[in-house]
C-alpha cells in the first residue's frame, strides 16, 4: 500500500496554482483558433434544423483560421430574442455581432441600438452591392447607412409531392407543376390534388399563428402590384379591394376540401410529411425536415395569381448591436467572420434558404441543388414587411394581423370587416412614435 501523501498547506496551495495554470494553458491550446484567437460573441435566433446548420457553418469558419473563435448564443425566436437584444444594445454591452430579420432593423436603427457597417471595409472583403440582388442589398440600408448584411432570403414557397401531383395530372412534361396564373386555376389545381390525396389537397397551417396568415396574405396582396405603406403618423395605405380579394381567396382555399379550415402549423407539417396531402404552403426553412422524410418533393415559387410575380420573404441579416466602446481589432474580425460565413453559405442553401451572396447562388453547384434551384428566382421577387418600427418577423404587427383575420379563415367572417379592424389597429400604432426613438432624435 502506498504511503499517504503528506499534504501541507503550502504544498496544497502550490499544487492548486500549478493545476490552475495547466488548466488555463490547456483551455487556450484547446481553442480551434489557438492561444491568440479573439472570441467573438454572436447572438442568433436559429433553432431546430436551422440551428444545426448554423452550428456547422460556425464550426467551419472556426476551424478554417486562427484569428478568431465565434461563440454563439442561441435565444428563443421572436419577442424574447428581440427584447433581449434591444436591452443589451441599450446598455451598450451587446454581443459583437447578431442575426436579425432584415424587416426588424428599421425599428432598431433610429434609436441607436445598431451600429452601422462600413461598406468600404466590407468591399475589401469582397462583399458589396455587386454580390447581392438589389432588393436584398438595399434592404440593409436606412438612408445612406448600411445597418444589416443579409445572409439569405427565406421566402414563402409552394412545395409539392411529385407522386401525388403526377397522379392528379397537374405536372407538365418535365415533371414540374403546371403553370397556374389565376385564383380560379389555383383552386382547380387544389381540387384536382385533393381528389387523389388521402386528406386534403393542400396543407396550410395558420391557427394561432399570425406570421403564417401574414406570409400568405402579403404574398397575394403584393401580387396585385401593390405594397402596403405605413407612413409615420399614419394613416396606413392599404388597397381595400386588393386586401379583400387576397383574404377572400385564402378563405376559398380553406374549404375543408382543398385545405383544412382548422390546421395549425404543426398539423400542416404532419399532414404533408406523412404523404396525406400533395401541396404545402410553407417557408423554405422547412425543406430540410421534409427531405428527411424521404418524400418525393419538389418546390416552386407561389404562382402569380393576381398578375404580378411576388413573394413574401425576409432575410436573416448580420447586424452590429450598439457597443459603447467597440474594440476595433475585434470589429475587424467581425467583418471577416461575416464575409467568411457569406462565402461559405452553400450549406445554408442546402438547408433550403436562398443565400444572399450571389457568387454562391450563381455557382454551378447551386444550379444542381434541387429543389432549391427551382425557387431561386424568388430572390428577385422578395417583398419584405412594410417598413415601420412595429413591423417585421416575430413582431406584434403580424400577431395583430392574425388576431384580426383569423375568424375570416376559421369561421367565414367578412374579409372587409377584418381588414378594417386591422387598419384601425395599425393606425393606432402609426400614431405612436417609435419607442426606441420617441423624441425622433435619430430620424
Amino acid at each position: 500500500m502506498a504511503p499517504p501523501i503528506e499534504l501541507t498547506r503550502r504544498r496544497f496551495l502550490s499544487g492548486a496554482a500549478a493545476l490552475a495554470g495547466t488548466a488555463f494553458l490547456a483551455s487556450c491550446a484547446g481553442l480551434p483558433g489557438g492561444a491568440n484567437a479573439r472570441t467573438l460573441q454572436f447572438w442568433h435566433l436559429l433553432s431546430g434544423a436551422d440551428g444545426v446548420t448554423m452550428s456547422g457553418l460556425i464550426d467551419g469558419v472556426n476551424a478554417a483560421q486562427t484569428d478568431y473563435r465565434v461563440r454563439p448564443t442561441v435565444l428563443a425566436w421572436g419577442e424574447p430574442y428581440y427584447t433581449k437584444l434591444a436591452m443589451a444594445a441599450a446598455g451598450g454591452r451587446a454581443p459583437d455581432v447578431s442575426v436579425m430579420h432584415a424587416s426588424r432593423v428599421v425599428g432598431y436603427a433610429p434609436g441607436g441600438l445598431l451600429d452601422t457597417w462600413d461598406t468600404a471595409r466590407l468591399a475589401d472583403l469582397g462583399v458589396d452591392a455587386s454580390t447581392f440582388t438589389d432588393a436584398i442589398w438595399q434592404k440593409g440600408f436606412i438612408g445612406d447607412d448600411l445597418y444589416s448584411v443579409a445572409l439569405d432570403a427565406h421566402p414563402f414557397i409552394l412545395m409539392y409531392n411529385t407522386e401525388i401531383c403526377a397522379e392528379a395530372g397537374v405536372l407538365d412534361g418535365d415533371g414540374r407543376l403546371r403553370p397556374v396564373t389565376s385564383p380560379e386555376e389555383f383552386l382547380e389545381l387544389g381540387r384536382a390534388v385533393a381528389a387523389v390525396s388521402e386528406s386534403h389537397g393542400l396543407s396550410f397551417g395558420y391557427l394561432g399563428d399570425g406570421a403564417q396568415m401574414w406570409r400568405l396574405f402579403y404574398t397575394l396582396y403584393t401580387q396585385h402590384g401593390l405594397e402596403i405603406e405605413l407612413p409615420p403618423g399614419g394613416p396606413a395605405v392599404i388597397d381595400e379591394d386588393a386586401a379583400v380579394a387576397s383574404l377572400g381567396f385564402m378563405q376559398q382555399l380553406l374549404d375543408d376540401e382543398i385545405a383544412s379550415r382548422s390546421a395549425d402549423y404543426q398539423s400542416a407539417i404532419a399532414e404533408f410529411a406523412t404523404g396525406r396531402s400533395g401541396l404545402f404552403l410553407t417557408g423554405v426553412w422547412e425543406l430540410r425536415s421534409m427531405q428527411e422524410q424521404n418524400l418525393p418533393i419538389d418546390a416552386t415559387i407561389i404562382p402569380a395569381l393576381f398578375g404580378t410575380p411576388s413573394v413574401y420573404a425576409d432575410s436573416h441579416s448580420f447586424t452590429l448591436p450598439h457597443q459603447s466602446s467597440p474594440d476595433e481589432a475585434t470589429r475587424d474580425l467581425v467583418y471577416r467572420f461575416v464575409a467568411d460565413i457569406l462565402k461559405g453559405s452553400f450549406d445554408w442553401a442546402e438547408a433550403g434558404h436562398i443565400p444572399a451572396y450571389l457568387p454562391v447562388t450563381q455557382s454551378a453547384a447551386y444550379a444542381d441543388l434541387l429543389p432549391q434551384a427551382h425557387y431561386a428566382e424568388a430572390a428577385e421577387l422578395v417583398k419584405y414587411d412594410p417598413p415601420a418600427w412595429f413591423t417585421g418577423s416575430g413582431s406584434r404587427f403580424q400577431a395583430d394581423f392574425g388576431a384580426a383575420v383569423q375568424n375570416v379563415l376559421l369561421r367565414g367572417a367578412d374579409p372587409a370587416e377584418a381588414i378594417a379592424r386591422f387598419r384601425t389597429r395599425i393606425d393606432q400604432q402609426l400614431r405612436t412614435p417609435n419607442p426606441a426613438d420617441p423624441e425622433g432624435a435619430g430620424a
Binding site: 419577442e79 427584447t83 434591444a86 436591452m87 444594445a89 441599450a90 446598455g91 434609436g111 441607436g112 441600438l113 391557427l207 394561432g208 399563428d209 399570425g210 383544412s260 382548422s262 390546421a263 395549425d264 398539423s267 412595429f390 406584434r396 400577431a399 392574425g402 388576431a403 383569423q406 375568424n407 376559421l410 369561421r411 393606432q428 405612436t432 412614435p433 419607442p435 426606441a436 426613438d437 420617441p438 423624441e439 432624435a441
Partner: protein, 324 residues
C-alpha cells in the same frame, strides 16, 4: 407598544433586572431602559434585512414606476422626458386597455365561481363521502404543483382542433368539433377550464383544513337530534365555512386578476381581442412595444382598479360581519 411590553417582561426575567428590584425601584427603571434600548437594537437588526429588501424591491420600484408613468421612457434606454399626464390620458382613451381590463374582469368572474364551488364540493366529498382519502387529496392537489408552462402545453394538446381529447369527447357524443383556443366564442372558456383544473387544488386544501376544524361532536349531537346528512350540511358545515369562504373568495379574485401566463402560452398572443388580459397588455406595451412609460401608466390604472375592488370587498365583508 408590543415590543416595549415584551422587552419589559424579558428585563424582569433577567438576573440583573431581578437584582435591581431588590436594590431599588429607581435604579431598576434605569437598567430596564438600558435593556429596552439594547433589545430594540437587536430587534431592528433582525428586521433590517427584510426592511432593506422591502425598500429595494417593493417601495423603490413602486415609486420609480410611478415616476416612469409620467415620462416617455423606452425599454431601449431612449426617451425619459417628463410628459405629464399624457400616458394616463392615452391609456384612458385606449380601447385595447379597456378591452383588456374587461377581459380580465370577465375571466375573474368566470373562474372564481367554479374555483370556489368546485373546491367546496371536492372537499366535502373527500372529507365525508369518498373512501381512499389520500388518493383524492393527492389527485386534486397535484395539478397545482405544475408550472404554467407545463399545464399550458397539456391543455394546448387537449384543445387541439384536430387531434385533441376535448374534440374527441365532443365527436364521441355526436357533436361538432370546436377550435377551442382559436374561436373567440370559446377561447376564454378554454382558459378558464385549464385554470380551474390547474389551481382548484389550493382552495380544496383550504376547505379541507376548515372542514377538519369542525368538531365531530356537533355532528354527533345533530344525529342524536335526528338530523339527516343534508340537514347537517346546511345547518352545521356550510355556516361554519363562512369565514374561510370569504378568505378564499378574496384570494381567488386577486389570483384571477393576475391572469397572464397560461393565457399567453396557450394562445401564443393570438385571438387576443377576446383574451388579452390587462397584465398581458402591460407586458406587451413595455417589453414588446418598448414603451416603459406607457406600460407603467397602465399598471397604475390597474392598481387603482384593484384598490377599488379591495375597498368594495372590505366594505361587503364588514357589513356581513356586522349583520351576523
Amino acid at each position: 407598544m408590543t415590543l416595549d411590553t415584551a422587552s419589559g417582561r424579558a428585563g424582569l426575567a433577567d438576573s440583573a433586572a431581578t437584582r435591581t428590584i431588590v436594590t431599588g425601584r429607581r435604579a431598576g427603571h434605569r437598567r430596564r431602559h438600558a435593556g429596552d434600548r439594547g433589545e430594540q437594537r437587536i430587534a431592528w437588526g433582525f428586521l433590517a434585512p427584510f426592511l432593506v429588501a422591502f425598500a429595494l424591491f417593493l417601495v423603490w420600484p413602486l415609486l420609480h414606476g410611478l415616476y416612469l408613468s409620467f415620462t416617455d421612457q423606452s425599454l431601449t434606454g431612449a426617451g425619459g422626458s417628463f410628459v405629464g399626464a399624457t400616458n394616463y390620458i392615452e391609456a384612458l382613451g385606449d380601447p385595447v386597455m379597456w378591452r383588456s381590463l374587461g377581459n380580465t374582469a370577465w375571466f375573474t368572474v368566470l373562474s372564481t365561481v367554479p374555483l370556489v364551488l368546485l373546491a367546496l364540493v371536492m372537499a366535502l366529498l373527500v372529507q365525508r363521502g369518498l373512501p381512499g382519502q389520500w388518493l383524492w387529496r393527492l389527485s386534486f392537489f397535484m395539478p397545482y404543483l405544475l408550472a404554467s408552462t407545463v399545464i399550458s402545453q397539456i391543455w394546448v394538446w387537449i384543445f387541439n382542433p384536430q387531434i385533441g381529447a376535448a374534440n374527441g369527447i365532443l365527436e364521441a357524443l355526436g357533436l361538432e368539433p370546436i377550435a377551442w383556443l382559436q374561436n373567440p366564442d370559446t377561447n376564454m372558456l378554454a382558459i378558464v377550464i385549464a385554470t380551474v383544473w390547474w389551481t382548484v387544488g389550493f382552495n380544496f386544501l383550504l376547505y379541507l383544513a376548515a372542514l377538519q376544524n369542525i368538531p365531530e361532536t356537533q355532528y354527533e349531537a345533530a344525529s342524536i337530534d335526528g338530523a339527516g346528512e343534508w340537514r347537517k350540511l346546511f345547518s352545521i358545515t356550510v355556516p361554519q365555512l363562512g369565514q374561510i369562504t370569504v378568505l378564499i373568495v378574496i384570494l381567488q379574485v386577486l389570483a384571477s386578476l393576475k391572469l397572464f401566463d397560461q393565457a399567453y402560452q396557450m394562445l401564443g398572443g393570438i385571438a387576443s381581442e377576446t383574451t388579452r388580459s390587462i397584465v398581458q397588455y402591460i407586458y406587451e406595451s413595455g417589453f414588446v412595444g418598448y414603451r416603459f412609460g406607457y406600460s407603467a401608466a397602465i399598471s397604475y390604472v390597474f392598481f387603482a382598479v384593484i384598490v377599488v375592488i379591495g375597498v368594495i370587498q372590505a366594505l361587503v365583508t364588514r357589513r356581513r360581519r356586522e349583520h351576523s
